[in-house]
């Protein structure tokens, strides 16, 4: 299973348009990534709800297609 870096980027970019998305491949096995996302969509959300937004975008892929995803979310500076 797993997803390529490009597939992951496409899913995140479609769901979180106008965001800065940086993806780091942790293991080269299409299954372990770290992502940093800077988006206005996170403004005003608690950290946990920011992460939930990312998980919602990934939908069923998270935990099934993709095993491990380390997430860092940030709000763009004014």
């Amino acid at each position: 299973m797993g997803m390529t870096k490009d597939e992951l980027f496409e899913v995140l970019n479609n769901g979180l348009s106008e965001s800065v998305i940086e993806i780091q491949d942790l293991a080269g096995d299409n299954d372990h990534y770290a992502v940093k996302i800077i988006s206005n969509k996170f403004r005003g959300l608690s950290k946990i709800n920011q992460h939930k937004l990312v998980y919602d975008v990934l939908g069923k892929k998270m935990g099934y297609t993709l095993h491990a995803l380390s997430i860092k979310t940030e709000v763009p500076k004014e």
Binding site: K47, H51, K52, Y55, L58, S70
Partner: protein
């Protein structure tokens, strides 16, 4: 989700101040993320209880549905989901986690 599973999850969360749903046990964590959270809680010397989701497939899937959070580990403090490994690590690094435990008088 099966009613018994839901009740068992609620019982764990509501009867323990600091409860971690993890893969494995504190002595034998079966996943790096679970192990990281155990190390943080141990370092902060906060008493905590755990559920090994690998022992019960119903709990392993039920907890994700219960909290609308798709991954394990999941840390609950006073019945509330604090987050998974990323958030707990971030809160630990910026001192927020210790502050919460202090405010809730949970540090031993």
């Amino acid at each position: 989700m099966d009613k018994k599973i839901k009740e068992s999850i609620e019982q764990e969360i509501n009867s323990n101040d600091v409860h971690l749903f993890m893969k494995g046990t504190p002595l034998f964590p079966q996943c790096g993320f679970s192990s990281t959270v155990v190390q943080i809680l141990t370092y902060l010397e906060v008493p905590f209880t755990t559920t090994n989701v690998l022992d019960n497939e119903g709990i392993r899937e039920g907890i994700k549905e219960f909290s609308n959070w798709p991954t394990i580990p999941q840390l609950y403090v006073k019945g509330e989901l604090m987050g998974g490994c990323d958030i707990i690590k971030e809160m630990f690094e910026n001192g927020e986690l210790k502050e919460i435990f202090e405010n809730e008088n949970l540090l031993s």
